[in-house]
Symmetry: D5
Subunit: 147 residues, 10 copies
């Protein structure tokens, strides 16, 4: 049975062969780069029409479209990530977590930012002292119930 | 010896007494709310002049200014945070970590976003379907050396 | 500075003295027993008016009302609970977690049950073979974004 | 030797081929959807007659019926689940565990809800503010012995 | 507020002063030694009448009887015990756990031995090659539901 | 090289084919059911003569007898078992461990029950309120040296 | 209630005051240095007569003798020791554990070295290339039962 | 590429075929049994001449000699060993670690026993009360630098 | 799809065949030995021209050059390394970590040494008391932002 | 009894009062800054004469000199450090550990760099692109025994 891991591997191979970037792939199917990469590696589900477009773009077998639009099980193996690029985000959550919580509560009340009704972008910002990575997250505010 | 924990407690008490918000405190000392909260709870060091302003604003003992401008040891006790508001950010790193890495490398090369030369904001974005939390992170791109 | 732990202890003492049950306390302040217990032990925030009512009911100091309505930090110390009564719920999540996920996705699509816009009840159901504990959870369905 | 994992895979393939939902499969063999899914993925044992019906319904090899009715070893690999849909239930146990315990003891005495003599349902409840997931658990109350 | 830990300490002191053994204490209040020790150190709740007898026997303050009959939260701090006497039992569960499971299922069906409707004894068995410790556990068989 | 895992699998297949129970297998080779199961799954070593009998009984290849009588390495993978039937025994050790220790020391002195010079039985005890699982462990008392 | 930790502290203070070495203390009470240190820090129980001698030697309160002869609970907090002197022994067990097991089984059969009926010495061995630490452990061989 | 694991397996097979003991193998190549076993299973590197002798003795392919004399990476998978024979040594380190440290420091100064410039023997010591396992470790004393 | 693990294995085989040292390989491609080894085993990315040189030097397939210049995911599996040679560096970080931090802050201000804009060398330093390993690390100082 | 933690606190207070840097303190007592800081915070033992000098320099009570020269137990609480400045060194060990091992073995043979016969310096190296932190470690090479 074709799995999300199988399809991710096919996509990586097609990407190496075609020389397409994630940004180009995303543009061609009309989705954002963050969501596109995430769904390609099996951490999100493409809307069926987008899965079809991707399959055509990269010449994958048709069954892959079905797999790409199934709900994934989002398992991440490392409790604390070791790759430095990913660890820095983990560190930011560790250091600034209580600050994010305090400011969200000050601005909204007792609640959280949703990680489900959520989107994110990554941008390169030119800067004479060295270009900067800009990450923007946006999630719906969810208020705790009291009942 | 007065510690950063002692001072954090004094600040929280003064904040409860005065009714000031983190945003107001930040405004009055001319720093951002994220940095202000973080340095107040002992996860960052205030520039000495800012520490002095804060101490005056909240009527803390003068020794507190010294403590607030010392380099902190950034210990966070929970490897995986349990508070739902903080956990959601941890989850985002777990789910989207490889995506952030892939897009940073596509846009910049082999490197990372710095968590040291770094700043962050939290904003409330009105939305008819429910207001949204916007978190913007900006960190200097650091290229891996090859030597 | 009076903390949520301090107030929880005052409430437990008042409860022992007055002989009130959680259900009676909840009834008198017009909240559900689950939410009432949870907010009393510091895992939820009472609406200010309810905090006032509780403080009057149990003759707590007025400052306690302020504390009871502040946003809590929901830290739970045991990654795997050891108390048998709590462990059984952990076990149910371990054994039936993939089943809950599969059925939610079948009935709703790619998303989750919110643990924030959420409520719960506990009921005793008479049964000739031995009475049963009934736990009902209700959470808003949240659909994953695709963007 | 055919294992529960082998059979689970056959079922998932047959399900994809036939287009049957878990609810339809459960209806056809006269079991609940929660139990049916759980036993199909190897976390419960079907009564032999039900295993036979399932094998016929999905055209599995006859040996699968034997496997489906054997007692499973309920191993779950993640101490803390990472999939957001499952994690939310873990979080509920962490946040509300002491509350569940306090209310069970108030209503019944010193004991627990059984996770063995236990059943569960998942329902979609329409709601103008967004439909809700309803999970109902029912387990026999078990009183601690004193001897 | 007097806690189970406070009372356990009072009992240990009274035991040292009076020179009574656990077996003698158990005999005098008409409970088994295993249950008596366990409830004295806060891992079980005495029936109220037994708590009263114990309080009289050891001349504890009357409030202790109330504490001794409250439902305990059974927290054990070490996931893997280090004391050799306790570790050996942990090792037996690790080595013989699958065997206990296989034989219970062979003799009863798909189910478990209850750890709630449960009792245990410890006996010294004379033996010319060295006396032996005999531990007898008895728990009600609980059959998994199928629904 | 034939391993204990290979042989365990052969035995499970032979058991399924022949329909023999563990108790019947044990009877036929004149060992107890607990030891027999444990040695078949690779957690104990059969005396060579018993290994020979087993190999004949189940028509295994002769090399299996050699493997069955080799000293095993007793690795158990889960620090905390997740299968409910096994977990309950873990829980008993967690809750009653200090009690077992206290009573062993009261009856014997400063020492432990051996888990090596050790045997165990599992019995079904009829009971009108529900049959009970009886587990009897017997281990040699070992006194700590003082030197 | 005087605890083993209290007494260990008294002994360390008396040792600092009197300038006695562990070896001298051991000699004066007629026990080995390893056992003496271990029992002084609360990891073993002195025979009552030896506890009395130690109490006299170091002028401790008489109650300390009772405490020193009680059975200890041997809790060690670090699963993996961090002190380099202790870690090296941990490393030896990790690297040579399977070797120790293989040679014990080759020389004795299927069994273990007891850590209870056990003694140990530490000696300084002069060596022109640098003196050496010699550690000798001796434990009774225990044969696994087969029953 | 032939690995140390591959060679270890060849040696175990040759050992089973030839019936040689570890002690005999060690004697024939003129190394100690502890070192011989350890290097055979990949936890130490044989001097090239000894690797050659071993390869001849057991009729292994010549490439194995190269592999046997390469520096190993000493990975041990279990932080806390579960095999009872190995666990007992872990337990000894946990219980007696601080004692070993105290006595080494008393006899030598501030330093440790090397686990690198190190050797070990295992001996069977006849004893009328039951033969004993004797383990002797010898490591060079290493003094901490002060600079 | 050829992976970094595949290429690392090819390099190790070529290295064994050719008898080249890491230092010689590094010299021939004009990179340092530390960086060369690290990029060969998949923990760093070679500049494309260097990857080409290496592929020619060791007669690897041309696709390997592409793989060697891709950004790696730096996963290290052991949270605490067990190999003694690597563990000693871990221990140095544990023991001297707070010292490194204090001295960096004293010399530079509130910041860190970069592990990204970073290089390292390993040298053999002759010494009559025994040659010494010299490790030199150099990383760019990064100052914490205050904003 | 005065402990190393007590003395560390006294030193930090004296340092804040006198305004001395670690480098100045080290210079005045003729030790290196790394060793001085490390021994002041309780991770190394000062030679008695140096402890005396330090006590005089900072006007500490005389008993502190005794404490500063006692062998410390080097416990570090965080298995994975969270402070970014310390974490980066941990990350370097994780990423470059196998490289350090490979190069040490290539230059010396099968052995390790001692972390006991060891010294370290931290230097600020001016650099037009941003000053750099230089860390130099030197440890005696220790060859594995073969016996």
């Amino acid at each position: 049975m074709m799995t999300k891991d199988d399809v991710a591997l096919m996509i990586l191979e097609a990407k190496r062969t075609t020389g397409l970037t994630w940004e180009e792939i995303a543009d061609k199917i009309g989705m954002s780069p963050v969501f596109t990469h995430s769904a390609c590696v099996g951490m999100n589900a493409f809307p069926p029409a987008k899965a079809d477009e991707l399959v055509k773009l990269l010449a994958l077998p048709q069954e892959a479209a079905l797999v790409l639009s199934e709900s994934p099980t989002k398992n991440f193996a490392q409790t604390v990530p070791t790759d430095p690029c990913i660890y820095r985000f983990y560190e930011i959550v560790g250091v600034y977590g209580p600050t994010l919580k305090a400011l969200i509560q000050e601005k909204f009340g007792d609640g959280i930012m949703s990680a489900i009704d959520f989107d994110m972008t990554v941008t390169r910002v030119p800067n004479p002292k060295g270009d900067r990575v800009k990450v923007e997250m946006s999630g719906k505010y969810l208020q705790y119930s009291a009942w």
